[in-house]
């Protein structure tokens, strides 16, 4: 057996007795032996060691789950107990996550996820995900509304307090405001899960879960209107329209005898308050008045 083979076996500790004898006969035997033995001079524990457990214990975070209150704007917090899973997800919302992006009133922002997927965040929304854990656990938490353009082949979960959306290389919009949960798919397929309910949406489908009721409909747009600075609604309770208006503009809306539950179909722009107000007041037969401290009053017209 040649020298290299003996050396290999010696390093693997697989030399037979006879082979060992042969190895020890080599000229370089002592040289090799010294190299291995002298390595011990570099032993880690001679120079550095971890502290004991007590030192670690002081650094361990407390195990009580943090309960975060939803931002208090004019949203009525009607958290339906129907979505029990929402609570479980809610507790793990801020657990071990890394990156947090928050938008304020009237603000939109675009971010890129580690897999090159793009997320556009609407006003007063927040997403959180773990950058480091992204490889093993691709999920992010969302409160509010965001549009997702997912890299082909990439798959991850969007978790909201009301339900989870699982995607594979698609474009879709997720909206979670108050207790209303809406998902619209613009490309590909998404899977929406909320409690026991699960639905698959394809291109052009939209789904809305609100107060325990499910609405399935269609959308003809190729991406959500709000990304083009227009908010658009189809059969949405008027109160939600008002809430979105307050999110896009820095205003407080006072309603006088205005039917909040009436279903509204229409839209408003994000960059011109008067036009926006006109767009929603006219169809609802309302008058509006803007006072100087960013307050708007909507009153039912007298006929």
């Amino acid at each position: 057996m040649d020298q290299n083979s003996l050396l290999e076996k010696w390093l693997n500790n697989t030399l037979s007795d006879t082979e060992m004898e042969a190895f020890q006969e080599l000229d370089d035997y002592l040289f090799y032996k010294d190299i291995v033995e002298d390595a011990s001079r570099f032993k880690a524990s001679s120079f550095s060691a971890v502290a004991d457990f007590d030192a670690l214990r002081k650094r361990l975070p407390q195990k009580t789950p943090r309960v975060r209150k939803l931002s208090s704007r004019h949203w009525l917090l009607r958290i339906a107990s129907v979505f029990v899973i929402g609570f479980a997800l809610y507790y793990f919302f801020l657990f071990g996550t890394d990156v947090s992006v928050v938008t304020l009133v009237g603000q939109k922002t675009t971010i890129e996820l580690p897999d090159a997927s793009v997320v556009v965040l609407n006003a007063l929304s927040e997403i959180e995900y773990s950058k480091k854990g992204w490889v093993n656990n691709k999920s992010l938490n969302l409160i509010g509304e965001a549009f997702f353009d997912v890299t082909k082949g990439a798959t991850f979960d969007v978790i909201t307090p009301s339900g989870t959306v699982t995607v594979v290389g698609t474009e879709f919009n997720v909206k979670h405001r108050g207790t209303a949960f809406e998902v619209a798919c613009y490309e590909g397929i998404v899977q929406v899960t909320s409690g026991q309910y699960s639905e698959e949406l394809r291109e052009g489908d939209r789904l809305r879960l609100s107060d325990g009721k499910i609405y399935v409909g269609k959308t003809t747009y190729h991406s959500p209107q709000w990304t083009r600075n227009i908010s658009d609604f189809q059969q949405i309770p008027f109160l939600e329209v008002i809430e979105e208006l307050e999110r896009q503009y820095h205003i407080k809306v006072i309603l006088k005898e205005v039917p909040k539950e009436t279903l509204f179909t229409g839209g408003f722009v994000h960059n011109h308050l008067e036009n926006a107000l006109r767009s929603i007041a006219e169809p609802m037969d309302l008058d509006f008045e803007i006072t100087h401290n960013n307050e708007v009053t909507l009153i039912k017209r007298e006929n």
Binding site: L7, E8, L11, N12, D28, L30, F31, Y32, D34, I35, V36, D38, A39, S40, R41, F42, K43, A44, S45, S46, F47, S48, A49, V50, A51, F53, A55, L56, R59, L60, P61, K63, F95, G96, K132
Partner: protein, 174 residues
């Protein structure tokens, strides 16, 4: 039964046991791979903190692998790969023999050379070699920790040794 295993890591007594068992070896692994500068003491502890935070999601049987993966990722995000220069223990001058200065100097040069040779090894080679030859870990064990096959570990040790052999050529006993 599986549910119990899940919750076990969150049990402080079990968690402490994991620490006492794996903290030192995890520290050594980081030390050999990235050197003292990566702050292996803190990184090893940080990995355990991460384990604690995720204790509900990690099975007791996979905790060790989790720790190694997390620790590696943490360091990778930190350092820009600097050369890893490991310290070595100086020869203690023997009281009863008089070593001639030339001999001591040669020994010093030898270890300096060895130190540089170790720095020339790739991280993977250095880790495999040190864990096997200095810490006495078997090839199979190292393979599991790092997430490669035993053959890969053997190959890395062989490559490491070849480089050391070449670098220390001049100090071969004539």
């Amino acid at each position: 039964m599986t549910k119990e295993l899940h919750e076990n890591v969150c049990d402080e007594i079990i968690f402490k046991g994991l620490y006492n068992k794996y903290a030192a070896e995890l520290h050594d692994y980081l030390y050999y791979k990235y050197g003292e500068q990566c702050n292996p003491k803190d990184k090893a502890q940080d990995a355990f903190i991460k384990l604690w935070e995720n204790c509900k999601k990690v099975l007791l049987t996979t905790a060790r692998g989790f720790l190694y993966k997390v620790a590696s990722n943490m360091v990778l995000n930190d350092i820009k790969h600097q050369k890893v220069v490991l310290r070595y223990q100086q020869e203690k001058p023997q009281a009863h023999t008089i070593e001639n200065p030339e001999f001591l100097m040669e020994k010093e040069q030898y270890f300096k050379m060895y130190q540089q040779a170790l720095a020339k090894l790739s991280e993977d080679q250095r880790v495999a070699f040190m864990l096997n030859k200095v810490e006495g870990k078997k090839h199979e064990e190292i393979a599991q920790l790092i997430g490669v096959t035993r053959k890969v570990v053997e190959y890395r040790i062989y490559s490491a040794f070849s480089i050391l052999k070449t670098e220390l050529e001049n100090f071969r006993i004539k």
